[in-house]
């Protein structure tokens, strides 16, 4: 772990007049191979590193980052950041966390694959198998946007001018497939993917391909609908996007800017009693897990919503101080500085099967894809393009497209009247199938 480099950068910042500083170093190597219509399409190799630095001049701060880790470049970055800190305004809430609260022992979350690397040929073969399975699984799969295998190895190090210096390493692997199904001149694309920290936890490439093909084929023959207000069932993928919107509204920066529909709602009921949302950073080998946050604070399990009650916000040190609360240890780091990020964010499962949820709807909409950006984080107003299947008498009857689903997130959360038992921790943010009592589906 290259903490020595960070420590020397922080030392220079002190020499330049910084009263405190912290730095984050990411070194990563990536590989991806894609195959389209059984032929190799792209092979990408990369190796990258980025050092980001935050310096304080009293209560004023500035950030800088560079991908050039040469001595001259690092010296320039430190000098520029310390100079910038002197022009920003004093902010009584700015500063590093109390050193006494920093993590002292880094837990081993088993985030790194211990196995050896595969050859490029073997990786290409994984993508080829996934796409071939999609192309062969149904005669209506006639074209493809391709299949991709990717892997990434990364090392993270964090240090502060108080003497904290720790790091950890991760690996991640992915397979994705985007087949195209066609019939009578109509074309429909869909996709499926698998991603994991350990290569052997990836789903079988053939299974990923077949699932992607089935998703594309089931969209053939899609109809537009007349506008109507009906129960709407979100599949686990689209339900997860609702959870992401909730996390955005619960994040500290949106709250202290008064730009969130969760403002002044801590401790109040914001969702149906069947809704519990948890962020858990310590699940071994999970994609969102991390041993400490972007400010060196120990991560843990945060209950965001417990049985419908908003129990916690998601805070870094700065937003916590602004709100008069304690950090929930959700600081994230990127080139631009400190932000708030979730780890493994989950809406916990209920006891109803997805089949029962669909079966409970006489006339409604089962959503399998959402597109567009129609979510207003300030008001919760929600309006997005949707694709899915129409439900008639408890059965998936036919595919639907070119419609929108609209409502308000606060009303939608309260109107959740069914939570599926089908939660799978297959990505950083996950949810089971959800049923919402009534939403407006707009069409013709």
């Amino acid at each position: 772990m290259n903490t020595d480099l960070l420590v020397s950068v922080l030392k220079r910042a002190s020499q330049r007049g910084a009263t405190a500083a912290d730095g984050y170093l990411v070194e990563e190597s990536r590989f991806s191979a894609s195959v389209r219509m059984r032929e190799i399409e792209n092979i990408n190799h990369s190796r990258e590193q980025r050092l980001s630095l935050r310096v304080f001049a009293g209560r004023a701060s500035a950030a800088a980052s560079t991908s050039d880790l040469s001595r001259e470049s690092l010296e320039r970055v430190v000098d520029e950041a310390t100079a910038l800190a002197k022009i920003t305004a004093e902010d009584p809430h700015a500063g590093l966390p109390d050193p006494a609260t920093l993590i002292t022992r880094v837990p081993d979350l088993d985030l790194e694959d211990a196995g050896g690397d595969l050859s490029p040929e073997e990786k290409i073969e994984i993508a080829r198998r996934a796409e071939a399975a999609a192309l062969e699984s149904d005669p209506r799969v006639t074209n493809s946007e391709g299949a991709e295998y990717s892997d990434r190895r990364a090392r993270y190090a964090y240090a502060t001018s108080h003497g904290f210096a720790h790091g950890y390493a991760t690996t991640s692997f992915g397979i994705s497939v985007s087949p195209i199904a066609s019939r009578n001149g109509e074309m429909q694309r869909d996709y499926w993917y698998s991603t994991a920290r350990k290569r052997d936890r990836l789903e079988d490439p053939e299974a990923v391909g077949r699932k992607a093909a089935a998703r594309a084929v089931r969209r053939l023959g899609a109809r537009k609908m007349k506008s109507v207000e009906v129960p709407v069932v979100f599949d686990p993928e689209t339900a997860a996007s609702l959870v992401r919107s909730i996390a955005g509204a619960a994040s500290g920066p949106s709250l202290y800017r008064r730009a969130s529909f969760f403002l002044d709602r801590l401790g109040t009921t914001i969702a149906a009693p069947t809704v519990t949302i948890v962020d858990d950073a310590l699940i071994p080998s999970a994609l969102g897990s991390r041993p400490f946050d972007g400010e060196g604070l120990a991560t843990g399990r945060t209950v965001l919503v417990r049985e419908g009650v908003l129990e916690s916000y998601l805070l870094d040190t700065y937003s916590a101080r602004k709100l008069g609360l304690a950090s929930t240890h959700h600081a994230g780091r990127d080139g631009a500085g400190v932000s708030v990020t979730t780890t493994n964010l989950m809406l916990l499962p209920g006891k109803t099967t997805p089949q029962e949820l669909i079966g409970s709807v006489k006339n409604g909409f089962y959503v399998t894809e959402l597109i567009g950006f129609g979510v207003n984080g300030v008001t919760g107003d929600y309006s997005r393009g949707a694709v899915g299947q129409w439900i008639e008498n408890g059965e998936l009857a036919y595919p639907v497209e070119e419609v929108t689903v609209a409502g308000n997130l606060l009303q939608m959360l309260s109107a959740i009247d069914g939570v599926g038992d089908d939660l799978v921790l297959r990505d950083r943010t996950v949810a089971p199938t959800l049923r919402i009592g009534r939403m407006v589906v707009a069409g013709t």
Partner: protein, 482 residues
């Protein structure tokens, strides 16, 4: 800083990293030429500065440097790409070997890339690049924006203003034996407000910029206009009613609503999707895909625009491509790979987010040419519908042609008159069909203020859009009022 911004790309990379054009050509020649159909080496150095004011004070100041080199080798439909963030001869050689592995796995097609050499444009030589402008002047402007925006209306409770400035120096050496560089300034001013009244809160946002100097914001009252617009939108939305749900006549205002074109037809006319037959527009060249009132162009050659480039990221000078002429599909946007494979000419649309990505066909500034109609008459012609003037982001499913974009400022129209403002709503349509319903095109073509960023396959690039006032007879509005 100023020195750096004034350098020539060739001397910049040779002074700083000892990488000369000759050396790049030697790496290409030794490793790639003759073994692949096309190849290039791309060097990039980027400085980015961001200043953010909120709660009345400049809270965030940051400066980021990134640099790197990407080496690409292509053989038939295959691309090998390797990049490194340490620009050195050793790493270029290693990247060239990795990229070439693609060729070792296939036979060369023998179809060599057409040289697309041409004179680079000179669209954004500036008296002073925005990144070099005095920090104190930028901070002062942010403070004035804050004060002015708050003064416009007592309901404005929050103001977030930011100035971002960037300078990208790039140099590309191609297998056809020429090297071309570009220095690309870019800046943007953005104002976001939160208005509150009676427990209701709303957000407004406005901004602009381009490949322009910092003084651009001070000229023609621009910053005051951006601030006033951001405040006006937030306050207006406090009284918005539920948006209607269903298909109706929609009049689009001029300028940024051109995002309609970007989503409805732009992406679908990018060369890669058409070569692969995965676009809803595939095989429709020469067919009628829009009303005869509609002519749409993609033009990367407009001086100082956010979406403009002197040369694209493959070294091809940008151009003006007519995508739709009087309703007939006439052109695709191409990079070198897809042009070669389709037997067409590169159009200067090969773009990449940074050295970390290989280029692909992307839009530059995409807009509809002006028509004959008086914009006011267009509004008056609507019995019952929606007038949409400001939009957030959009998205499209290339394959089935369905596109969405979100109206953030829109009004109901009754008997030709604008009535109540409505809450944000997503509009959804079908690309190959939506523009066939254009029944009026105004004489008031406007390009957007310079705020667009387009994402494709995880790569973001700055783009522009433009539109005159138009009327579309039937597009689905995704509101909640059934």
């Amino acid at each position: 800083m100023t020195d750096l911004a004034r350098t020539r790309p060739e001397s910049f990379f040779s002074d700083r990293f000892s990488i000369t054009s000759d050396l790049m050509e030697r790496v290409l020649g030794g490793n790639l030429i003759g073994k692949v159909d096309d190849a290039d080496i791309y060097l990039e150095y980027r400085i980015n500065e961001e200043l953010v004011l909120e709660e009345g004070t400049v809270k965030k100041a940051s400066r980021h440097v990134s640099q790197g080199a990407g080496v690409r080798a292509q053989s038939a439909t295959r691309t090998g790409y390797a990049h490194t963030d340490e620009i050195s001869l050793k790493n270029l050689e290693e990247a060239a070997r990795q990229a070439r592995a693609i060729a070792d796995r296939s036979t060369v097609s023998g179809t060599l890339a057409l040289p697309s050499r041409g004179r680079p444009h000179d669209l954004y030589t500036l008296a002073e690049p925005p990144i070099a402008a005095d920090l104190a002047r930028k901070l002062d402007l942010l403070r004035r924006i804050d004060a002015e925006t708050r003064a416009t209306d007592p309901r404005i409770k929050q103001v977030i203003a930011s100035i971002t400035s960037e300078e990208v120096i790039m140099l590309i050496a191609t297998a056809s034996g020429w090297t071309v560089g570009d220095i690309r300034p870019l800046t943007r001013l953005n104002v976001t407000t939160i208005a509150e009244e009676g427990g209701k809160r709303e957000i407004g946002s406005y901004g602009g910029g381009g490949r322009v100097t910092f003084d651009f914001f001070l000229e023609e009252g621009r910053w005051r206009r951006f601030a006033a617009e951001a405040a006006r939108q937030a306050v207006l939305k406090l009284s918005a009613v539920d948006a209607p749900a269903g298909s109706m006549t929609v009049v689009f205002g001029p300028g940024w609503p051109g995002i309609l074109l970007h989503e409805a037809i732009g992406h679908g006319l990018e060369g890669d999707f058409n070569r692969k037959g995965t676009s809803a527009f595939a095989g429709r060249m020469g067919h009628k895909v829009a009303s005869e009132l509609v002519t749409v162009v993609d033009d990367g050659t407009i001086a100082n625009r956010r979406g403009s480039l002197n040369v694209d990221d493959e070294g091809t000078p940008t151009g003006r491509t007519v995508l739709i002429e009087n309703g007939i599909l006439t052109g695709y946007m191409q990079d070198r790979l897809n042009a070669r494979l389709m037997g067409m000419k590169p159009t200067g649309n090969g773009r990449r987010e940074s050295y970390a990505y290989p280029p692909m066909p992307r839009m530059t500034n995409t807009f509809m040419l002006a028509g004959q109609d008086d914009p006011e008459e267009i509004l008056k012609s609507v019995k019952h519908g929606l007038y949409a003037v400001t939009f957030g982001g959009g998205q499209v499913d290339i394959t089935n042609g369905k596109f969405v974009f979100s109206a953030s400022e829109a009004y109901l129209v009754e008997d030709g008159r604008i009535t109540a403002p409505v809450k944000g709503a997503t509009l959804i349509g079908n690309g190959p069909e939506a523009l066939t319903r254009v029944s009026r095109v105004g004489s008031d073509l406007k390009l957007d203020e310079g705020v667009g960023t387009c994402g494709k396959d995880g790569q973001s690039v700055p783009v522009g859009v433009g539109l005159p006032t138009i009327r579309i007879d039937g597009i689905t509005v995704g509101g909640t009022a059934v």
